[in-house]
Symmetry: C2
Subunit: 360 residues, 2 copies
């Protein structure tokens, strides 16, 4: 299987399709003034040759500036969303030749009105493209409807809004991810049939669509394969981290036999660090996302597995999709599920050591 | 964290560093004729501004053609190496603007002299760069020494030759991968302490460095955590696939209690399909690589887990590294371990659905 592709020139295509160079150029740029028969012949030849127009050269020649706005949940440095923002920065660097800029707005994930307020700021800016991590459906819908009215293309990351599809979605299939997590937790827990789900909650709000869907998928697996397993719940207060240890203490004292648990947010380290502080070594814990504190628990053995979802890639791909659509006029794939990656102390060191950021 | 990067021009850098435009240009291109103090000032400014020279524009302007040669094991369509070659094709497409071509040679993995013969063909061509999947050390060394003499840069994929480091290596840490596989297999096997390693062998030759190292890592884990586990070996003949079922039958009849096994090559499907044909459903099997027949066994339940290692990315990254070094004059990272990815029936559908190929 030898491959020796030669540079394809427009005049070669013209010769092969038996049309003029001007006709090839018109087909390539989607302009009118070409007979149906000629268009078909040119398109066939282009397909046969797997022709790639030189997108860089033409985009570099343009001076148009592109302003993108992102709407993400508020977070502290080192939280899950920091990784998404790193991906955005990488994309900005990767496409720095093409005059793009990004302005990011942050909403309180436990306050829906805050989402609406920040969304309005973005509408006022009237950007060329938008990337949003949705909150609950009704509030997300209001924003998206306005974007549609203004013909602004938008990307979803983290969770999707299927009834108002964006230019693209980048994120995990949360239900399937929870389903997978259940299998892995039961491998660790066997033969015991008892476990606990730990949440962080504020006024009844879990704070993300992802968490809710992961739990649904988890419970689906349990119903199918371990219908007799007792599933306990421990709801910690999202507002007061100080009370966590006391609440976990109480739970553990009441249920000393429970040796397996899972968190569907990115804060498994709360439990992992608790287990370390109490010297508990026989508890099987699964969590999400590679925050430094989570990874540190994984290395210490207080977290058994972490499930990752390539947040940098989500941030990078979202911005890249806007570039592809607006600048390079390339087709963008609509549904882009992230891998459901299992990390343990044995394979974590090799995770994404060749990262997408090297792949420009 | 708002990001509004502006286009940086050479004259801006000159102004900030208080030097001439010519000086900035000399520093950017590593030419002499610049005082140490000026060089330092310019480099500091470049760093502060995170300056990216416009590599596309300058490379596009050049007309130099680059010929790369690859040396890979012989294989059939659909084998592991097909995925590596897909990565090579993707890279060829991605960098098609830059006049690169690839010629691939194939050696018999069970015949070391064949490696030497094909290597000589490559030396005769005198290519601009080489990518090689090494055979055993002594034969690989001969080839590499000749490349070094001719100052031809080379990339290792699949396995590395640490004592003669290449421009870059892309592949899995095979020992750690085997170590990880052991943990996963013992999770499935527990509480039983008995398993079988299945190989394909021709005249005592396993056929790849990777397989040998995976088994070493596997045995290391077993020694550390399950020193009493009985490990059986079943060596199938690499030359006659027809005899496989009979040999597995014999083994299974002799050892009816063994319910867990692993293969370190990419042909776990031999065992998986055997299990299906015999209606055996209580055997835990782990294998490597996402060949279609392996994935089909995973979906049927006759393989429990597959470990993957991004072969497309290896092929893509190797060619990209040659481009980065030769065309874009970019620094290339030397050691690039692939992730150790665990796939089960629950997460396989989401593996690399956003692939590196989308990430150019």
């Amino acid at each position: 299987m030898n491959k020796l592709p030669e540079r394809i020139r427009i005049k070669d295509i013209a010769r092969l399709a038996d049309v003029s160079v001007g006709t090839v150029d018109r087909v390539l740029h989607g302009r009118s003034g070409v007979s149906e028969a000629s268009r078909k012949r040119v398109e066939e030849i282009l397909k046969q040759l797997d022709y790639q127009p030189n997108m860089y050269a033409s985009a570099l020649a343009s001076n148009k500036k592109y302003i993108f706005c992102c709407l993400l949940p508020q977070h502290l440095e080192g939280d899950y969303w920091t990784a998404v923002e790193n991906g955005i920065s990488n994309a900005l660097r990767a496409f720095s030749d093409f005059h793009i800029s990004v302005k990011t707005f942050y909403y309180d994930p436990y306050d829906y009105d805050s989402f609406a307020t920040e969304a309005n700021h973005i509408i006022e800016i009237n950007p060329d493209g938008v990337m949003v991590a949705p909150t609950i459906e009704s509030y997300t819908e209001d924003f998206i409807t306005q974007l549609n009215d203004k013909l602004i293309p938008y990307i979803y990351i983290d969770s999707n809004l299927k009834k108002l599809p964006g230019l693209a979605f980048y994120g995990q299939n949360s239900r399937q991810s929870g389903y997978f997590a259940a299998r892995m937790l039961m491998l660790l827990a066997a033969p015991k049939e008892e476990l606990v789900i730990i949440r962080k909650i504020h006024q009844g709000i879990v704070g993300s669509n992802q968490q809710e869907n992961r739990e649904k998928g988890f419970r689906k697996y349990m119903q199918e394969f371990h219908p007799n397993c007792k599933i306990y719940e421990l709801d910690l207060d999202a507002d007061s981290d100080d009370a966590d240890a006391k609440m976990i203490d109480e739970f553990m004292n009441q249920h000393p036999d429970i040796k397996s648990g899972i968190t569907f947010n990115s804060k498994a380290y709360i439990i992992g660090e608790y287990l370390q502080s109490r010297g508990i070594k026989d508890f099987n814990l699964i969590g999400y996302d590679l925050l430094m504190r989570n990874v540190s628990c994984l290395r210490e053995g207080s977290i058994s597995f972490l499930i990752a979802q390539q947040p940098e890639m989500q941030g990078y791909s979202g911005i890249k999709a806007l570039c592809d659509f607006l600048i390079f006029k390339k087709e963008v794939k609509q549904l882009n599920y992230m891998p459901i990656d299992l990390l343990s102390i044995e394979n974590i060191n090799y995770y994404s050591s060749v990262s997408f950021a090297d792949m420009k």
